[in-house]
């Protein structure tokens, strides 16, 4: 029998009280349901190169919960987002953490009717959609959304966080406060997030989806692990031989990935650190469009009136601008972005 068995003097009760519950809607975070999905994903290394059109058509469905990494201005999957708008997807639920204009664009384009808030620009269009009940917003923060994705990436149903408690956001979230099972103190927990689609723009990937990202990352890895469908857009497609030469640089392994889109300037108008700087005029234009309620005009010009990203880059942006963006990146900081 137990020789080193000792009674631990921590929790005497055999129940834990739930002290408070947010009332926001969320999908039931059941890891076993998610595992049924990953069971069906292919593990063999097969080429997954396709166009943005094809990737979005095949892997983004109306009603999906989508997450994207970083934002429209900084290594975000801007090209994929524009393609979603171009294909007029509907009823998307947006994981709006660490982002600026994307939610506003999706809402005004009629693509999105629910959003989990971390940070996104809430101009007149978003306000109107909320007041007119065309958009439901649930309230978290950047890091709490990151924690929810991390819990998903860990295959859990929930995780505890040291923030969100006490805010009004808590009330409109899926969080709870429970008695901590070990300390007995009040502890905030949040439901894991298992998105339908992760959109991730990377510096380099091979044709199978082994992906490299340089610089800071937000929750690229967590999103790839926690999402049912993963679309990678990459500035460069590199050989798998190169991947094997420096395995420490691989952030996302291929078997998580459903589609690889070769999309140079895929973060436009944003910066891709170490490769090109942002188009500051475009940044001002899109922010202005949102604050001045001109999003439809912006979308007409930059999204609907062009058939593809390639056409947009050539006809709307122009090669000179693209070269200038690259030049400015070279002028600043390319160091550190290849290792």
């Amino acid at each position: 029998m137990a020789d080193n068995l000792e009674r631990v003097p921590t929790v005497a009760e055999k129940t834990l009280r739930i002290l408070e519950e947010g009332q926001g809607e969320y999908s039931l975070p059941d890891p076993d349901v998610f595992r049924e999905w990953t069971a069906r994903k292919d593990r063999a290394m097969r080429p997954k190169l396709m166009t943005a059109q094809e990737a979005v058509a095949r892997f983004v469905a109306d009603g999906d919960y989508i997450v994207w990494e970083t934002n429209y201005f900084q290594r975000g999957p801007s090209a994929l987002i524009r393609e979603i708008i171009r294909q007029r997807k509907t009823r998307l639920w947006a994981g709006g953490k660490f982002t600026w204009v994307i939610v506003a664009l999706l809402v005004e384009a009629g693509c999105c009717d629910r959003a989990d808030m971390g940070f996104f620009v809430g101009g007149p269009g978003v306000t109107r959609a909320v007041v007119e009940k065309r958009l439901k917003v649930y309230e978290y923060s950047n890091l709490v959304m990151a924690a929810r994705l991390r819990a998903g990436a860990m295959g859990l149903s929930f995780i505890s966080v040291r923030s969100l408690g006490g805010t009004d956001g808590f009330k409109y979230s899926g969080a709870k406060i429970i008695e901590d099972p070990y300390t007995g103190k009040p502890t905030v927990i949040v439901p894991a997030l298992y998105p339908d689609v992760a959109l991730i723009h990377v510096h380099q990937a091979d044709q199978y989806g082994n992906a490299r990202i340089f610089g800071t990352t937000i929750t690229d890895v967590e999103s790839a692990l926690a999402s049912r469908k993963v679309i990678i857009s990459a500035e460069e497609i590199i050989n798998t031989e190169e991947i094997r030469h420096k395995p420490g640089l691989t952030k996302i392994p291929y078997y998580l990935v459903d589609a690889v889109v070769h999309q140079p300037f895929g973060a436009y108008p944003g910066e891709c650190p170490g490769m090109y700087a942002s188009d500051t005029e475009h940044v001002a234009e899109v922010l202005g469009a949102i604050y001045n309620d001109k999003v439809k005009e912006y979308l007409d010009k930059w999204v609907y009136s062009v058939a593809s990203e390639e056409q947009m880059l050539v006809e709307r942006v122009g090669l000179n601008k693209l070269k200038e963006m690259q030049r400015r990146a070279t002028m600043v900081a390319t160091e550190g972005y290849r290792s």
Binding site: T70, N71, F73, Q74, R75, G96, F98, W100, M117, G118, F119, F120, V121, G122, V126, T127, V131, V137, E139, S141, N142, L143, V144, A146, A147, R150, R162, S163, L164, G165, G166, T167, D168, G169, F170, I177, K185, P186, T187, V188, G215, T216, T217, I218, T219, D220, V221, E271, P273, G274, A277, S278, T280, V283, A284, L287, V332, A333, T334, Y337
Partner: protein, 300 residues
């Protein structure tokens, strides 16, 4: 909290925007040898970077996305204060959002500096909705990284415009936590780490801290170009006062502070452009002078 420092002896500026003043004052509150986690850019970031250059060389600036201790390549492109090459330049470490959040959770990130749209007497912040939530008014950008910083950093410095509509008895929406209802242990009951909370508020007119027992906003110092009456008139509630009743007067910006701010940070003149007037030293006193259209303040 209001300390003396090298700014006492340095040449003073005679013309500046109020928001410039605010950033310089916040810079002087920066404690050397501590880590500062700052969400986004603007005034909070500028104040820490100015402090590091002038007063607090051992300060470690940490960006929201996990850039630790950079020597940022100033100035930045508009909006590009995070997750971009220039602000990340020559860092000691590039982390991830959860990675830097972990560092904060275990207690390695000492101070946060945050902008807010609205503030109540207990330092609760609103950046989500002004008006009646979901029904009327205006949706803003949400807490972003501010909720985390307000919850988990040991001390939080707040920055806000000194306007009556912003000092409210109760914020329309608590986006990021101050002392909540101000009662003892309110933050702990909400699951937040012990020994955390707002530490100072820097407006363009005044500096406040929070009374230890009541957690209520307390006026500590005012700008040299406003009166106590003006400061109080632009608040909908009365702040506490120090036990000795003494409210100090702040020193104006130094020329060096403003030079750095204007040439390396606010290079597009956002602070001066959006100001309605300049603070000017004339005839032995400070006065507010209407800005000449289109004219920028010189970078000194």
């Amino acid at each position: 909290m209001i300390k003396d420092g090298p700014w006492k002896e340095a040449p003073k500026a005679t013309t500046f925007a109020e928001r410039e003043f605010q950033v310089c004052i916040a810079a002087r509150l920066v404690e050397n040898g501590k880590t500062y986690w700052v969400a986004g850019g603007g005034g909070p970031m500028y104040s820490v970077l100015i402090a590091k250059k002038l007063y607090a060389p051992d300060v470690v600036y940490v960006a929201e996305d996990g850039v630790v201790g950079p020597e940022p390549m100033l100035p930045f492109d508009p909006v590009m204060t995070l997750a971009a090459a220039r602000p990340s330049y020559r860092a000691l470490m590039w982390s991830t959002m959860n990675g830097i959040g972990d560092q904060c959770a275990v207690g390695y990130l000492d101070y946060g500096v945050l902008n807010t749209l609205q503030l109540d007497p207990y330092g609760n912040l609103n950046s989500t909705w002004i008006g009646t939530y979901g029904v009327e008014g205006r949706r803003f950008n949400g807490p972003g990284g501010a909720d985390t910083i307000a919850a988990m950093c040991r001390r939080v410095v707040l920055m806000m415009d000194h306007q009556r509509r912003k000092f409210v008895p109760r914020v329309d929406f608590i986006s990021s936590p101050g002392y909540l209802d101000g009662s003892p242990g309110a933050r702990e009951r909400a699951g937040l780490p012990a020994n955390t909370g707002p530490w100072a508020l820097v407006t363009n007119w005044a500096v406040f801290d929070f009374e230890e027992q009541t957690h209520h906003l307390r006026l500590r110092a005012i700008a040299p170009f406003v009166t106590l009456e003006q400061v109080l008139a632009e608040m909908t509630f009365e702040p506490k006062f120090p036990p000795d009743g003494k409210v100090e007067t702040l020193d104006p910006p130094t020329e060096e502070e403003l030079r750095i701010l204007r040439t390396e940070m606010d290079v597009n003149g956002q602070f001066t452009d959006t100001a309605a007037h300049w603070v000017v030293w004339e005839d032995g006193r400070w006065s507010l002078v209407a800005k000449e259209q289109g004219k920028k303040l010189s970078p000194l």
